[in-house]
Protein backbone atom coordinates (compact mmCIF):
# COMPACT_ATOMS: atom_id res chain seq x y z
CA UNK A 1 0.00 0.00 0.00
CA UNK A 2 2.77 2.38 1.00
CA UNK A 3 4.79 1.37 -2.06
CA UNK A 4 1.75 2.18 -4.19
CA UNK A 5 1.58 5.68 -2.68
CA UNK A 6 5.30 6.26 -3.21
CA UNK A 7 5.15 5.08 -6.83
CA UNK A 8 2.06 7.23 -7.28
CA UNK A 9 3.96 10.28 -6.09
CA UNK A 10 7.20 9.77 -7.97
CA UNK A 11 5.93 8.12 -11.16
CA UNK A 12 2.22 8.62 -11.77
CA UNK A 13 1.91 12.22 -10.52
CA UNK A 14 4.58 13.77 -12.82
CA UNK A 15 3.47 11.52 -15.68
CA UNK A 16 -0.15 12.60 -15.37
CA UNK A 17 0.85 16.28 -15.11
CA UNK A 18 2.91 15.95 -18.27
CA UNK A 19 0.10 14.19 -20.14
CA UNK A 20 -2.49 16.69 -18.95
CA UNK A 21 -0.49 19.75 -19.88
CA UNK A 22 0.64 18.53 -23.27
CA UNK A 23 -2.31 16.52 -24.52
CA UNK A 24 -5.59 16.84 -22.61
CA UNK A 25 -5.42 20.46 -21.49
CA UNK A 26 -3.29 21.86 -24.27
CA UNK A 27 -5.27 25.09 -24.71
CA UNK A 28 -5.79 25.82 -21.04
CA UNK A 29 -4.19 28.35 -18.76
CA UNK A 30 -2.67 27.05 -15.57
CA UNK A 31 -2.10 28.61 -12.21
CA UNK A 32 -1.74 27.87 -8.54
CA UNK A 33 -4.67 28.57 -6.28
CA UNK A 34 -2.83 28.06 -3.02
CA UNK A 35 -0.66 25.51 -1.29
CA UNK A 36 -2.91 23.64 1.05
CA UNK A 37 -0.15 22.67 3.43
CA UNK A 38 -1.95 22.91 6.73
CA UNK A 39 -5.42 22.10 5.56
CA UNK A 40 -7.17 18.78 5.84
CA UNK A 41 -8.87 16.84 3.09
CA UNK A 42 -12.52 17.79 3.12
CA UNK A 43 -13.88 14.68 1.50
CA UNK A 44 -12.98 11.68 3.66
CA UNK A 45 -14.83 9.36 1.26
CA UNK A 46 -11.82 9.78 -1.02
CA UNK A 47 -9.75 7.52 1.21
CA UNK A 48 -12.08 4.59 0.58
CA UNK A 49 -11.89 4.82 -3.19
CA UNK A 50 -8.50 3.06 -3.63
CA UNK A 51 -9.84 0.12 -1.61
CA UNK A 52 -12.99 0.03 -3.71
CA UNK A 53 -10.91 0.06 -6.89
CA UNK A 54 -8.71 -2.70 -5.46
CA UNK A 55 -11.78 -4.81 -4.62
CA UNK A 56 -13.08 -4.27 -8.13
CA UNK A 57 -9.75 -5.28 -9.68
CA UNK A 58 -9.41 -8.41 -7.59
CA UNK A 59 -13.00 -9.54 -8.10
Amino acid sequence: MIIGCIFGLYVMYPFYLFIYKNIIGKNMEYGIYNHLKDKEYKNKYDFFIPSLIAVNFSL
Binding site: I2, F7, Y13, N27, F47, N56
Partner: protein, 172 residues
Protein backbone atom coordinates in the same frame (compact mmCIF):
# COMPACT_ATOMS: atom_id res chain seq x y z
CA UNK B 1 4.73 -25.16 -14.38
CA UNK B 2 2.20 -23.15 -12.38
CA UNK B 3 1.01 -19.78 -13.55
CA UNK B 4 1.06 -16.84 -11.12
CA UNK B 5 -2.67 -17.01 -10.21
CA UNK B 6 -2.32 -20.78 -9.61
CA UNK B 7 0.69 -20.25 -7.36
CA UNK B 8 -1.16 -17.59 -5.38
CA UNK B 9 -4.12 -19.96 -5.18
CA UNK B 10 -1.91 -22.75 -3.84
CA UNK B 11 -0.42 -20.52 -1.17
CA UNK B 12 -3.78 -19.41 0.18
CA UNK B 13 -5.71 -22.61 -0.41
CA UNK B 14 -7.88 -23.77 2.48
CA UNK B 15 -8.80 -27.43 2.45
CA UNK B 16 -12.28 -28.14 3.74
CA UNK B 17 -15.59 -29.73 2.89
CA UNK B 18 -16.54 -26.79 0.72
CA UNK B 19 -13.09 -26.32 -0.70
CA UNK B 20 -13.91 -24.65 -4.02
CA UNK B 21 -15.82 -21.75 -2.47
CA UNK B 22 -13.06 -20.98 -0.02
CA UNK B 23 -10.60 -20.96 -2.89
CA UNK B 24 -12.49 -18.06 -4.46
CA UNK B 25 -12.31 -16.06 -1.24
CA UNK B 26 -8.66 -16.86 -0.62
CA UNK B 27 -7.68 -16.01 -4.18
CA UNK B 28 -9.57 -12.77 -3.79
CA UNK B 29 -7.67 -11.90 -0.60
CA UNK B 30 -4.33 -12.80 -2.18
CA UNK B 31 -5.15 -10.72 -5.23
CA UNK B 32 -6.34 -7.85 -3.07
CA UNK B 33 -2.82 -7.23 -1.74
CA UNK B 34 -1.53 -6.74 -5.27
CA UNK B 35 -4.50 -4.76 -6.51
CA UNK B 36 -4.38 -2.42 -3.52
CA UNK B 37 -0.89 -1.47 -4.64
CA UNK B 38 -2.14 -0.89 -8.18
CA UNK B 39 -5.18 1.08 -6.99
CA UNK B 40 -3.09 3.39 -4.82
CA UNK B 41 -0.59 3.82 -7.62
CA UNK B 42 -3.42 5.03 -9.84
CA UNK B 43 -5.45 6.98 -7.30
CA UNK B 44 -2.88 8.62 -5.00
CA UNK B 45 -2.03 11.38 -7.56
CA UNK B 46 -5.55 12.71 -6.93
CA UNK B 47 -4.49 13.70 -3.38
CA UNK B 48 -1.20 15.09 -4.62
CA UNK B 49 -2.96 17.30 -7.16
CA UNK B 50 -5.02 18.70 -4.35
CA UNK B 51 -1.84 19.44 -2.39
CA UNK B 52 -0.20 21.11 -5.37
CA UNK B 53 -3.14 23.50 -5.79
CA UNK B 54 -2.78 23.52 -9.58
CA UNK B 55 -5.90 24.76 -11.30
CA UNK B 56 -6.68 25.47 -14.93
CA UNK B 57 -8.91 27.93 -16.67
CA UNK B 58 -10.58 27.74 -20.05
CA UNK B 59 -10.30 31.53 -20.47
CA UNK B 60 -8.09 31.30 -23.56
CA UNK B 61 -10.44 28.76 -25.12
CA UNK B 62 -13.72 30.64 -24.59
CA UNK B 63 -12.46 34.20 -25.05
CA UNK B 64 -14.27 34.63 -28.38
CA UNK B 65 -17.39 32.79 -27.30
CA UNK B 66 -20.32 33.42 -25.01
CA UNK B 67 -19.34 30.50 -22.75
CA UNK B 68 -18.50 31.31 -19.17
CA UNK B 69 -15.00 31.06 -17.80
CA UNK B 70 -14.38 28.12 -15.52
CA UNK B 71 -11.61 27.54 -13.05
CA UNK B 72 -11.23 23.92 -12.07
CA UNK B 73 -8.82 21.67 -10.29
CA UNK B 74 -6.62 19.64 -12.57
CA UNK B 75 -7.58 16.44 -10.79
CA UNK B 76 -11.33 16.53 -11.56
CA UNK B 77 -11.21 14.68 -14.86
CA UNK B 78 -8.98 11.91 -13.58
CA UNK B 79 -10.88 11.57 -10.32
CA UNK B 80 -14.26 11.32 -12.07
CA UNK B 81 -13.12 8.31 -14.11
CA UNK B 82 -11.72 6.44 -11.11
CA UNK B 83 -14.69 7.24 -8.89
CA UNK B 84 -17.06 5.97 -11.56
CA UNK B 85 -15.08 2.78 -11.81
CA UNK B 86 -14.99 2.37 -8.04
CA UNK B 87 -18.71 3.06 -7.66
CA UNK B 88 -20.85 1.66 -10.45
CA UNK B 89 -18.27 -0.89 -11.61
CA UNK B 90 -17.92 -2.32 -8.14
CA UNK B 91 -21.65 -2.85 -7.59
CA UNK B 92 -21.90 -4.90 -10.80
CA UNK B 93 -18.75 -6.92 -10.08
CA UNK B 94 -19.73 -7.53 -6.47
CA UNK B 95 -23.13 -8.93 -7.47
CA UNK B 96 -21.39 -11.24 -9.94
CA UNK B 97 -19.01 -12.32 -7.18
CA UNK B 98 -21.90 -13.08 -4.81
CA UNK B 99 -23.74 -15.16 -7.40
CA UNK B 100 -20.59 -17.14 -8.29
CA UNK B 101 -19.71 -17.78 -4.65
CA UNK B 102 -23.21 -18.88 -3.65
CA UNK B 103 -23.39 -21.22 -6.64
CA UNK B 104 -20.21 -22.90 -5.45
CA UNK B 105 -21.77 -23.47 -2.04
CA UNK B 106 -24.86 -25.21 -3.38
CA UNK B 107 -24.08 -28.45 -1.58
CA UNK B 108 -23.42 -26.85 1.79
CA UNK B 109 -25.92 -27.48 4.57
CA UNK B 110 -28.07 -24.76 6.14
CA UNK B 111 -25.67 -23.91 8.98
CA UNK B 112 -22.77 -23.45 6.55
CA UNK B 113 -24.90 -21.31 4.28
CA UNK B 114 -25.93 -19.06 7.17
CA UNK B 115 -22.29 -18.64 8.24
CA UNK B 116 -21.40 -17.88 4.66
CA UNK B 117 -24.19 -15.33 4.39
CA UNK B 118 -23.05 -13.58 7.57
CA UNK B 119 -19.45 -13.54 6.35
CA UNK B 120 -19.83 -12.71 2.66
CA UNK B 121 -22.32 -9.83 2.83
CA UNK B 122 -20.32 -7.54 5.17
CA UNK B 123 -17.09 -8.82 3.64
CA UNK B 124 -16.75 -5.87 1.29
CA UNK B 125 -17.28 -3.36 4.09
CA UNK B 126 -14.52 -4.92 6.18
CA UNK B 127 -12.12 -5.13 3.24
CA UNK B 128 -12.75 -1.51 2.25
CA UNK B 129 -11.43 -0.32 5.63
CA UNK B 130 -8.08 -1.96 4.94
CA UNK B 131 -7.06 1.00 2.79
CA UNK B 132 -7.46 3.54 5.59
CA UNK B 133 -3.88 3.36 6.99
CA UNK B 134 -2.95 5.44 3.98
CA UNK B 135 -4.16 8.47 5.98
CA UNK B 136 -1.34 7.84 8.46
CA UNK B 137 1.15 7.52 5.64
CA UNK B 138 0.04 10.84 4.13
CA UNK B 139 0.28 12.52 7.52
CA UNK B 140 3.79 11.25 8.29
CA UNK B 141 5.20 12.05 4.85
CA UNK B 142 3.70 15.54 4.70
CA UNK B 143 6.98 17.48 4.61
CA UNK B 144 8.75 15.29 2.04
CA UNK B 145 5.64 15.16 -0.09
CA UNK B 146 5.13 18.92 -0.20
CA UNK B 147 8.78 19.49 -1.00
CA UNK B 148 8.59 17.15 -3.97
CA UNK B 149 5.20 18.41 -5.14
CA UNK B 150 6.44 22.02 -5.07
CA UNK B 151 9.51 21.02 -7.04
CA UNK B 152 7.39 19.34 -9.72
CA UNK B 153 4.95 22.28 -9.77
CA UNK B 154 7.82 24.68 -10.45
CA UNK B 155 8.92 22.52 -13.35
CA UNK B 156 5.33 22.56 -14.56
CA UNK B 157 5.71 26.35 -14.96
CA UNK B 158 2.40 27.23 -13.46
CA UNK B 159 3.61 29.69 -10.89
CA UNK B 160 0.88 32.24 -11.70
CA UNK B 161 -1.22 32.91 -8.65
CA UNK B 162 -4.91 32.72 -9.34
CA UNK B 163 -6.98 35.62 -8.09
CA UNK B 164 -10.64 34.94 -7.76
CA UNK B 165 -12.48 38.22 -8.27
CA UNK B 166 -16.23 38.08 -8.52
CA UNK B 167 -18.82 40.83 -8.41
CA UNK B 168 -21.43 40.12 -5.84
CA UNK B 169 -24.95 40.23 -7.18
CA UNK B 170 -27.27 41.37 -4.43
CA UNK B 171 -30.62 43.15 -4.53
CA UNK B 172 -30.03 45.07 -1.29
Amino acid sequence: MNTIPETIKDIFLSRGTIDEGFTIINTFLAGFVLTLFLALFLYSPVWYFLNSGIVFSNKKKVDDFVDSIEIRSIRNWYRAILRGYAGIGLVITYLQFLVTTFNKFDDADLAEQIILLVFIIPFLIIVVFSGLPVILFLEYTKEIRFKYINKITEKFKSSNKVNLIMDKIDKK
